[in-house]
Symmetry: C2
Subunit: 330 residues, 2 copies
């Protein structure tokens, strides 16, 4: 019966989270009972959205939760056996018991295990489904993606390149822009803080945009609408720029009427809509990782003790690519 | 050789169009040459979309254009003979010569001739295609249509009723609201000038809206987005509330992020996209007119001199149903 270290929410952060908000607790984990599985987490994910959940969703004095991938160490469940790798939503702890409903088996031979929290996980499927299903991308089209250096955006651009598309990305620093071109193979990239989006789109794609993968809203959405081609599609993944600090929403684009004469489709989606595409996604993405067509960056902290530091690092630019904590050897 | 009065675009409207934007010009029309047809227009249509085309499409100092239906008065073309009725896109003039390519013969026995500019014409096909093709309406769904007493909106609602839907409409006067219920068979209707759209939608359709047929933009689009069901669809036909903004365009809805978690599709369209549906449309619509399932209203101005007034009336609620100008007796 292992002892498991886990991290509780001790107090709610005011402003930036600090070490004081977290508490380490050592708990005993019992052997699995009938239809139970004992899982040891190997990697856990820290993500900015968790900061929001610390406001009220996560209970004080209880263990935090988040995406993780681990190994079954003991099982009395017919669907799982020791040695299986499973993705789960029980991060922030070393071991846990499960009835199996929240576990998804993953194939560790396809790609590094940590990929199941990134390019082979929710961010990857979000990019894949949003671009190919919602966005109905066709080979050779012209694609624009905002927040292009993020976990979703960088995969969007690389999938589009696999499909023979011309790819334009925007990001918020010259370093990120350089990375889009040099590392991720984008055809064009610009810094939306220092360049005018519409001017950049016209320069990079004189004939217009077929698919705009929308992550930010605001002026970039307006520029995309203005420069869309006939029958253009805008899969809407997020609109991070449209919420200000006071929590009231900013107005939408002034040129929604562009949709009319150009037969533009705007369609919202979340990753939960792509369950049917999951098997094909894993097959495709594992192949693209192997061939080097899809690259990714990770920043990996070592040991559960470093999880609060990793989480706090999300807010000060520490990370480059997906931020992970490794809890155990594979 | 008749003399024909026609209307030229004298200056581009800023904001609402005024009489100063139009100029009447008297021209001589010659007899038809080989393979030519001389047409006398009987009815011409004025439509909100023409306001958009006055921004740049229509040339200054040249005759305006728009839907019309007329009678062949002389022909040296094999496909047409005197007495034929033809729909055409050469409105805003009394007579014109054609090589026949822009003329479509219509059957005056199927329905009154003016219907070919309304329920059996572009507005009817706009409603039919926008609702059934772009909006992918399913039998029994809940439909909201704005500008519901207009030439398109009233047909949208009535087609939805034929399809067994619950239908909610908005209009700009209590008289129009009463007409939607009593004349066109809507289940619910409200005056958007005196009632809060979101409150009305919640009252009329507690479970939400499947299809919002968008004609107006603004606060009604925001209300619809907020009250859409999962997988809701918003065919975008027009946004008349934003057309006459001089200089700066109105902002879009503040809640476009509603599309994300609700997988909402917004899709623009124009009637030219529904060529493939035209034959089925005429068959269906002629049947619905005969059975009384689709009713229509017309506001008919008399004589080409009244055309600018009729057009300007589109933007101040003057019209009830399809706005037409009668140029000659049938």
């Amino acid at each position: 019966m292992p002892s498991s270290k886990e991290i509780h929410l001790k107090s709610r952060p005011r402003g930036l989270p600090t070490a004081d908000n977290f508490e380490f607790v050592e708990v005993d984990v019992s052997e699995p009972g009938e239809n139970e599985v004992l899982v040891q987490n190997i990697y856990m994910s820290v993500d900015p959205y968790m900061r929001g959940r610390m406001r009220e969703d996560f209970a004080l004095g209880e263990v935090l939760a988040g995406g993780a991938v681990g190994k079954v160490v003991a099982s009395k469940h017919n669907d799982f056996q020791a040695g299986d790798y499973v993705s789960n939503f029980s991060g922030w702890r070393e071991y846990f018991l499960s009835n199996g409903e929240d576990l998804t088996k993953v194939d560790a031979s396809l790609a590094p295990l940590s990929c199941y929290l990134g390019v082979l996980g929710m961010p990857g499927l979000t990019a894949y489904g949003g671009l190919l299903v919602t966005g109905e991308l066709k080979d050779g089209e012209t694609v624009f993606v905002s927040a292009a250096s993020g976990a979703v955006g960088s995969v969007v651009g690389q999938i589009a390149k696999v499909k023979g598309c011309t790819v334009i990305g925007s990001a918020g620093s010259d370093e990120k822009v350089a990375e889009l071109i040099n590392e991720f193979g984008f055809d064009h990239a610009f810094n939306y803080k220092t360049a005018d989006p519409l001017t950049e789109l016209r320069k990079a794609a004189p004939d217009g945009i077929d698919v705009y993968f929308e992550n930010v809203g605001g002026i970039q959405l307006e520029a995309a609408l203005t420069h869309m081609k006939i029958n253009g599609r805008i899969p809407i993944c997020g609109m991070i720029s449209t919420y200000n600090d006071a929590g009231t929403a900013s107005p939408g684009p002034r040129n929604l009427t562009e949709t009319i004469y150009k037969f533009i489709t705007m369609k919202g989606f979340v990753v939960s809509g792509f369950g049917a595409q999951q098997p094909q996604f894993v097959e495709d993405m594992a192949g693209w990782i192997k061939s080097g067509e899809v690259k990714y960056h990770e920043t990996i902290f070592d040991g559960i003790d470093s999880a609060p530091t990793a989480f706090m690092g999300l807010f000060d630019g520490t990370n480059n690519g997906k931020m992970l904590v490794q809890l155990a050897d594979q």
